[in-house]
Each structure stands twice: as structure tokens, then as C-alpha cells.
Symmetry: C2
């Protein structure tokens, strides 16, 4: 049996195969007409480009590159964009997908990519409402996600205030650990199958924290009821480029500093069986792709949120004056560190 | 003086250079928060991916490839997306730009690309509200444009009715002729400089017909005032993939046929000095990238629209029952032709 390639069925052929992944009636025009945000809400737009060999690999099953199946690549692409919406405090309305494809890509690869994308999107009732396919020497996926947010509930990097508590919505370092387990099959043999799978899933199927946005919205509305003058202003972003990057970016945008207690950063429990405390912390700070949210808000609201979020969520430090971001070890075992953007991921 | 390359200034450096092309306050978060469509209007989304070597070339100034400067590539990318909005009857709200770039691309190339994009966008008061930059082995531009339309004024490919007049909003074949003049400098030496420039501009700086949408909207509103029950339903799309493709796509989506009078298809007047009538008609039908609109609407409304649009606009035929699209020459010089999608541009 020969593998059916994209060049065998052509652009129209592929479009017909992908149509089942989109809501009926949407595809087939120059654009999609969809309902606007609900009354009073603003539109939120975010866009991401993922390139084969940089962000994922189509060589699934090869010896050296077996970390991302097409389904996982699709899930991760969708999750990254939904996470950007969550990072803005927005709930999703839909996404568009622009695919650059080589002629020799198997049709099944593209279908599996879309399967992974829709598996993720379906968890959040988000449709694919448009797209474009074009020929290219390299496979790339360009996703634009759009959502809605009440203007006073939008989360921005600016606006962190001195004294704010810094919240993480879950554990960090799991995605990087999962990648390591995939790259080095002999690594972590002493983990239980459940522990292993949990870290690998964190890498392959990260969950955008749209659930946090729903909780925050309830909290904001309750505060409004209790005291009509009180407005809960939240600064933040997601930790897709690493926890350190998120904290430093927020501080830079807000013109403030921060003090982080390294012992309060929540790590996956199994990480201590896998690597040293220093390595685990390095993965948490710089590994990236955990897709948690890093939020700065008044202490009382922060503690309430952490209690609601449960496992993994924590207040890890506070916003300070100045512009330095310190990572402190209150046990005195490690020296204090100044965090900067330099160690984070930079293209080019 | 050495040319500054992207890898010299990095991702953050480039983002700082591109910030002036975006409205203040938009850039710097995971997404952009923008005003929603006006009350009662739906959201329209369209997306397009353009790849170096397929849709444009970065080798400007080279011997064989000198048709598209970075400014022109930017203009054309923006225009193609705005034209998709016009094709839906929508007016633009903004675009996002996802750039895939190689490390050795000159920074000036990217800046000039953005200059061209914003030159086009500024004509239609459309901001760049977001973007992403990533490293890739090939330069590509993924644009998502979003706009607004009253649901009853949305233009779709479905809905063309037997008896409808088929309108083109301007001349066809100019873009293809302009490309020919750029590829073959000796070609068309007997054209006046103005004629030459006009064809070349049609290729390098095509104009999305958002002006037509404004006119149609006035026409629809006037009809509503005159007769509260009358609704003007318009089917259509843009002619970016050629006039023949547009007519056939509309007929296929609407389950109808069409009869086109080849002598009514408006061509740039100078084309007759350049090539044979047959060649000119071929460029008009299959050349593509004229970015005019092809609209199907009742005869009276069609004639009113054509009169308002002036030069180049014409009723070129009518929608018929059945499913065949005939190109007829009423002078009897050429044989009737059956139009199909096959001759149009297909990726892969």
C-alpha cells in the first residue's frame, strides 16, 4: 500500500478532507462570518507561527525525533494559542489555521494534525472557523485565535503593583521533564508508569488554563457585588516561555521588581526522583511550555484564588519597588539569584 | 558598510523596530484587546499565507527576479486580505501578521515589508494589531484580517439566482500584463510611459475594492427605506484567482450556471496594443490578482451599481439554470467556451 501524499490529491482534495474538522457552513467563502463578542466585551486577538524542525517535527517515528506525533503537534499548536487568550483573561471564540505544506507530506499527517487540534479545541468549545493552505518548502502552522473579554477584566503585563502577590496556577518544569523522558528513553526508569506518563502528557498535551479565567471572572463579579467601588486589577501572562521569562516580562512592563521564594515554586512531585533540586528549578524557570498563568494581584484575592485552584497553585513571591527580580532561597542553601530575560528562549 | 541582518539584532530587536508600525498600546501582551464590531454586526475572519518563492520573492534587484520589492510584497499581502474582507461585504477592523524569517534576512527588508503593508492598510484605516515572529528556513507571511458586516449584507458564494446579472467592478488582466512587463523589460516598448506604469502598478499595488462595499451598503439602506420588505441579496467573491475561477466557484456553490459575453469583459485599454485579443482575454480570465469583485445581483440593482462605479465596471453576463458556465462571443469570431476550474491556479 502506498502512502497517499498531498501532491496526489491536491489543494481541493485536502480542503475536502479537512472540512469535517470545521463547523458546517463556515468553509467555502473568502472569509468566515461569525457572531461577534457578547455585548460589552472587547475582541482579543493573538497569533502564533510554528515551524517544522523548530517548534515540532514531522519525522514522527524516526530514531532521533520521536517527541511529537502529528496529533500532539496539533494539540500543542491549539493549546499555545488558547493559552495566549487565557493570558489576556479572555475566553475563546474561534481560531483560523494557515498551513504551509510541502507536496510530499502524507495526507494522513495533515489529518492527524487536525485531529489533535480539534481534540484540544473541543475541550474548550472552540471551532476552527477558517484557514488557508499553501505550498512551501517547509511545513508551518500559523494560528490566529480570537476571544472575548470585558475590558475591565483584561489581564495585561503592565499594571503589577508593589505589594501584589505573585501567583502561579500550577506546577512548572513538567513539560521540560516530559521532553527529556521522550528524548532519552533510558532516563527516569525508576519512575512509576503513572509518574512517567504524567510528565510526558504535560509535554505532549499541555492544558491552557482557561478554567482559571472562569474562576477569576466569578471572583471579580462577587467583589463587585460586595463593594461596588472595588475593582480587582490583575496583571499577568502565561509561562509558555518559562516562569522566569514571565516574571521578568511582567516586571519590566509594569516598571517594578519582584522577590520570588524559590521554595514556593511548585514542581511536579516526581521531579525530585529524576534530577537534582537545582536542575528541577532550572527546568521550572527556563524550560517553558508549561502554559500556566503567572498573575499579580492583591494578597487576599491571591490567596482566595490559590485555595480555589488547588494542587500546584501557589503564591510564590511578591512585587517590589525597583526593577530587580530576585530569586531567594529562604533556607539559605543556595545563593540569591538575579533573574533576567537572557536565559530564556530567543529566536535568531 | 555591512548590511544589518536579523540575526544581528535578534527577536527583541526586531520587535522594537516594528513597533512603530502598530498603534501604541497594542503590542507587548500575549494578545491584543480591541473594540468589537459595531452593535448588530457580525465578525468576519479571513486568513492567508504567502511564501517566499511562491507568492513573492525576497531577491529584489536580482537579474531574474525583480518583480516584487519588499514594499510591494507587503502591500500585496495586505491588499489580498483586505480584498477577502471586501469579498465578504465586510469593512476591516484590523490584521495580525505572523512572520517566518530566516536569520540572514536584512532587517531593512523586514522594515520595508512593513512599510508596504502599512501604506496599503492606512488607505483603509486598518491597524496591525498583533503578530508573531519566528525563525524558519523560508520566509513566509501569514496574515489574518478581521472585519465587520451586518449579517444581512454578507456576500457569499452561495445564493446566486437564475436571472441575476453578473457584475465585475473593474478591468481584468491588468495585473498579469504588469507582471509580464516586469519579467520582460523589452516587452511593450511601444506603450506610453503612463500605460506601462498603470499596468505595472496594477500588479505591484492592487487595490482591494472596499469602496464597492461602502457603495453597496448605501444602496441596501436606500432600498430598505423605499420598501421595507425588499432585501438585496448579493452573491459574490473576489477575482484574486482569476475571473474564470470566481465565476465558476460562485456557480458551483450556488448550484447554477452562467452565460458570459466575452465582449463585455472589461480589459485595460492599453492591452490591445500589447497582445492579441485572445491573449488579453486569457489573462483576464486566468491571470488572477486583479482583486476586483464579481457580484451577482438583480439586473436593476446591478445596473445602478455599475453606473456608480464607473470606468471598468460592467455587467458581463447572467446567471442561468443548469451548471455550465459558458463564455460566448456574440460577434461570432470565436467559438463558445465552457469555463472550468482546471485552468485556474491550484497549489500542489
Amino acid at each position: 500500500m502506498t502512502l497517499e501524499l498531498l501532491k496526489d490529491i491536491g489543494e481541493q482534495g485536502l480542503l475536502e478532507r479537512l472540512q469535517p474538522f470545521c463547523p458546517p457552513g463556515i468553509v467555502g467563502d473568502d472569509g468566515a462570518v461569525i457572531p461577534p463578542p457578547e455585548s460589552g466585551q472587547s475582541l482579543v486577538i493573538t497569533t502564533d507561527v510554528l515551524v517544522n524542525g523548530v517548534h515540532f517535527s514531522d519525522r514522527y517515528g524516526g530514531v532521533s525525533q520521536c517527541t511529537t506525533s502529528p496529533e500532539d503537534a496539533g494539540w500543542r499548536a491549539a493549546a499555545a494559542n488558547l493559552s495566549d487568550l487565557a493570558a489576556m483573561g479572555a475566553s475563546p471564540l474561534g481560531i483560523t489555521v494557515g498551513l504551509s505544506l510541502t507536496g510530499d507530506v502524507p495526507v494522513s499527517w495533515v489529518e492527524r494534525l487536525y485531529q489533535g487540534m480539534t481534540q484540544c479545541l473541543n475541550q474548550y468549545n472552540t471551532p476552527i472557523v477558517g484557514g488557508d493552505i499553501c505550498r512551501s518548502p517547509v511545513i508551518a502552522i500559523a494560528i490566529t485565535a480570537f476571544g472575548q473579554v470585558y475590558p475591565d477584566q483584561a489581564i495585561r503585563r503592565t499594571g503589577a503593583k508593589v505589594g501584589d502577590a505573585i501567583v502561579v496556577t500550577g506546577v512548572h518544569g513538567a513539560s521540560r521533564a516530559g521532553l527529556e523522558l521522550l528524548l532519552k528513553p533510558d532516563f527516569g526508569k525508576h519512575l512509576s508508569p503513572e509518574e512517567r506518563l504524567s510528565l510526558i502528557k504535560a509535554h505532549q498535551r499541555p492544558k491552557p488554563r482557561l478554567d482559571v479565567i472562569a474562576l477569576l471572572s466569578l471572583q471579580v463579579n462577587r467583589l463587585k457585588l460586595e463593594s461596588s467601588n472595588l475593582q480587582l486589577s490583575i496583571a499577568g501572562m502565561d509561562s509558555s516561555d518559562g516562569l522566569a521569562d514571565a516574571i521578568v516580562q511582567i516586571c519590566r512592563a509594569s516598571g517594578v521588581g519582584a522577590e520570588i521564594d524559590s521554595n514556593r515554586i511548585t514542581l511536579p512531585p516526581s521531579l525530585s526522583k529524576l534530577v537534582s533540586r537545582e536542575q528541577a528549578l532550572d527546568w521550572a524557570l527556563y524550560g517553558g511550555e508549561d502554559f500556566e498563568l503567572v498573575l499579580c494581584l492583591p494578597t487576599e484575592a491571591a490567596e482566595e484564588l490559590v485555595a480555589q485552584l488547588g494542587e500546584g497553585a501557589a503564591v510564590i513571591g511578591k512585587i517590589t519597588s525597583g526593577n530587580q527580580v530576585w530569586l531567594k532561597d529562604k533556607t539559605g542553601t543556595y545563593a540569591d539569584q538575579l533573574l533576567s530575560l537572557n536565559k530564556g528562549f530567543q529566536h535568531f
